[in-house]
Amino acid sequence: MEKELTMPKLRPEMKDGVLCAWLKEEGDMVTAGEPLFEIETDKVVNQIEATESGVLKKQLFEEGDTVDVEAPVAILETK
């Protein structure tokens, strides 16, 4: 099953965040709780962890891109 991971809203006033780094490449296995990417907003660097285990199927943005809150960032193939 495909599952989307979105840009989280970390604070009520947050509108977007910078996707700073991918910590996994496409095709990598990811276990739930493992950090998948890092975002920065308002001087906070935040590690975003996978909510489920699976394979990182698609990175939807490049490092350095600004992404709107709740927009899909990654597609995870879960069992």
């Binding site: 920065e40 907003t41 660097v45 490092e63």
Partner: protein, 315 residues
């Protein structure tokens, strides 16, 4: 809340110390103060070349350190005091949970400070403190500067006068704010040592036994310093991809340098200048690392005694 002692002034060690403690003591809420000898400290995802003049810092012998939190570029010296909170995360990302106790502690020891913008502390309209966070594994690292008696002339020269507009880059840019030193605003003067002691006493209960690292843990911090914070891969390899273009006069004739850099590696290099062998330049720079010492060596090969001047056109 407990404290942990770190008396090192080595800016690379201190970044490693903070990361090590963040990862090693997940059960404790910690607060500690620390100081760096003169250094430029950049945010986790900043483009160093855009924020400061790398050749100027190289001449001054001031190191550049990349930290693990977000935000902008700051200059540290021994007139500045840094603080770090390491706490559990509960709820949305929020600065006030650590920022407000800091403002209250400053007020309690006679500093007329107030919160400004989302995560600064100011006296009047002038900034005395900036802060940034890293959130990982359900824990928050929040740290900040406290300008007590810093060299504000040096700070201004280094962090505001050398923004590099030759660079097209993603990544996080710094904000520029007017700053002041805390010591200039005290009704009753105190030394930097007294300031630190009184601040610590406000934020950590007197009866809480301070943590200290064992010799083996200190060794692990030094290893992290050498393998991560002093490494090219961390400091320069993490530079966001950018396009560079700079024109001017070198050895009395026009020069134009362009290149692209991705993951800290130069490509599409062009050095157009009648005083230099452009083919040699492109050959030596293509695929070179974005590294001040390595590029300085190439510049000396290409331009001999004028190598340092040439470096000004490369970074």
């Amino acid at each position: 809340m407990r404290t942990i002692v770190n008396s090192s002034h080595d800016p690379f060690y201190n970044q490693a110390f903070e990361e090590f403690v963040f990862q090693t003591f997940p059960e404790d809420d910690l607060f500690f103060l620390w100081q760096n000898s003169p250094a430029v400290v950049v945010g986790c995802y900043q483009n160093i070349c855009r924020e400061v003049s790398v050749p100027a810092l190289r001449r001054l012998g001031i190191p550049i350190v990349r930290r693990s939190s977000g935000g902008g570029t700051v200059y540290h010296d021994l007139g500045n005091v840094n603080y770090t909170f390491l706490v559990k995360r509960d709820g949305p990302v929020d600065y006030d949970r650590c920022l407000m106790p800091m403002v209250e502690a400053l007020n309690a020891i006679g500093v007329p400070a107030r919160k400004n913008r989302s995560c600064d502390i100011a006296i009047g309209e002038q900034k005395i403190s900036g802060s940034a966070q890293r959130v990982s594994g359900g824990r928050i690292l929040q740290h900040g500067t406290l300008l007590f008696q810093s060299d504000l002339t040096a700070l201004d020269q280094i962090t505001t006068h050398h923004k590099n507009d030759c660079i097209q880059s993603k990544g996080i840019a710094s904000a520029i704010c007017p700053v002041t030193n805390i010591r200039a605003h005290l009704t009753q003067d105190m030394t930097l040592d007294a300031f630190q002691a009184r601040l610590l006493a406000q934020l950590v209960p007197m009866d809480a036994q301070p943590l200290t690292l064992t010799a083996a843990q200190e060794e692990a911090v030094r290893r992290l310093r050498d393998e991560k914070y002093r490494s090219w891969a961390w400091t320069w390899g993490k530079t966001p991809a950018f396009q560079y273009e700079k024109e001017g006069l070198f050895a009395g004739v026009p020069i134009r340098v362009t290149y692209a850099a991705k993951k800290g590696i130069l490509s599409d290099v062009s050095v157009d200048c009648a005083a230099l062998d452009s083919k040699d330049a492109a050959r030596l720079l293509e695929g070179a690392r974005l590294d001040p010492e390595g590029l300085a060596a190439v510049c000396h090969t290409l331009a001999g005694e004028q190598g340092d001047m040439l470096l000004e056109y490369l970074l």
